[in-house]
Amino acid sequence: MNETTKVADSRFMPEFSNRFVYVLVVLAGATLLTVFTSRLFWHELSSKNIGAFPDAIALRTTVQYGIDEFQGTELTDLSTKAKSTMLALIIVNFVLAPIGFVLAWKSLLLDRERQARGETGGGRHWLRPALLVVCGVILGHLAIVNIITAIILPQGFKTMVWDNVVDQARNDVVADLTDAGINAFQYYYLPEASGGGGQSFRSWKNKGLPATLEEMGIPAKTAHGTYTLKEIRNDTLLVLRGISPVVLSIGSSPEYEFQVSPGTPSPPEFRVAKIN
């Protein structure tokens, strides 16, 4: 009975065990550290944004270097100060904090054993719990951040792959439309006797009617998209429309218009307009 009372008295709060309060405080600290440093990671990489995510920043920088090198673009280099900050934070987060946590934990256990034997320990009893809380906050924050990152990253990679697919589809449609535009341009200048429009986008077979895609040597469908003749205006403008078979997340497909203006006597003009 006396022992029970003694245990209850040693609690910081009568409603909860000390361990529960410790875990609660550590989790709260880790949450605050995570929430108030998260923008340092999620915003653009710069020397100011190293923050508390050095491992993720290092990973991101490495991936960025790889992409830059692959694309042949200029490498985005970090300053020496940023690199040293990153290294210091990696040492704190992944070396000092775990070691400090384990040492403080062991030390507390030894203290308890000493107390159980009736021996008195040295001074500074607050130091070990404080170290345990600080190291626990750092480790807890790392756990929260890395769990969230592990959930987000696959989605991010999927988005990146899909973005590449869409970009490729767009480039293919524009390339096909450019080829089609050049064919239409050639048709415009070719004499009627040679199967052209004779400075016109009208059909050489059916006089008075607009030329068809087939007559201009433009395929109506390729592996990259479907192409239609949208408009022929006064023999000075031809508008082609191309739609990719790829369906975007909004439900529509990448769609472009390609304008051909032969421009006699002014120079010819080609214009690409994005519709979707």
Binding site: L24, L27, I152
Partner: protein, 141 residues
């Protein structure tokens, strides 16, 4: 037996204020942050997000009132006030998403609402605790 209407000497148990704030942070800020990072919460802005904030705070305040051995109504209000500052800073300064409540309710109204909701919820928690302690919970069921 403790009765809520008979509080004479109002004293604040600062341990419960601290632990209550930690409860708010762990049980509300952490899920909010995770939902925000997982891009779930961006679709919840507006009335649903406000319900998420206020209902969450009411639930935690109720828990504080119900779980504590003493009367912790003021403690819940103070913890909610501190958490209100934390949440506002987190949303306005860090996440920068322009939440609805500072725009609609304005900061003064926000803190007033937070404290009132927390206090009333904690009072309900104390009420349930008191009824349970008096063995009247069976009568209610």
């Amino acid at each position: 037996m403790k009765r809520i209407g008979e509080i004479k000497n109002v004293s604040v148990d600062w341990r419960w204020v601290g632990v209550g704030t930690c409860f708010f942070i762990v049980m509300h800020l952490l899920p909010t942050y995770i939902l925000f990072e997982l891009r779930v919460i961006t679709t919840l802005f507006g009335a649903i997000f406000s319900v998420w904030v206020f209902a969450g705070m009411a639930f935690i305040s109720f828990f504080i009132g119900w779980k504590s051995k003493g009367v912790t109504i003021i403690e819940a209000g103070l913890a909610a006030f501190i958490y209100g500052i934390v949440l506002m800073l987190a949303i306005n300064q860090e996440w920068g998403v322009g939440p609805v409540f500072p725009l609609v309710i304005k900061p003064l109204g926000w803190f007033f609402a937070v404290v009132v909701i927390a206090t009333v919820s904690a009072w309900f928690g104390e009420l349930v605790q008191s009824i349970k302690a008096q063995g009247k919970i069976e009568d209610l069921e």
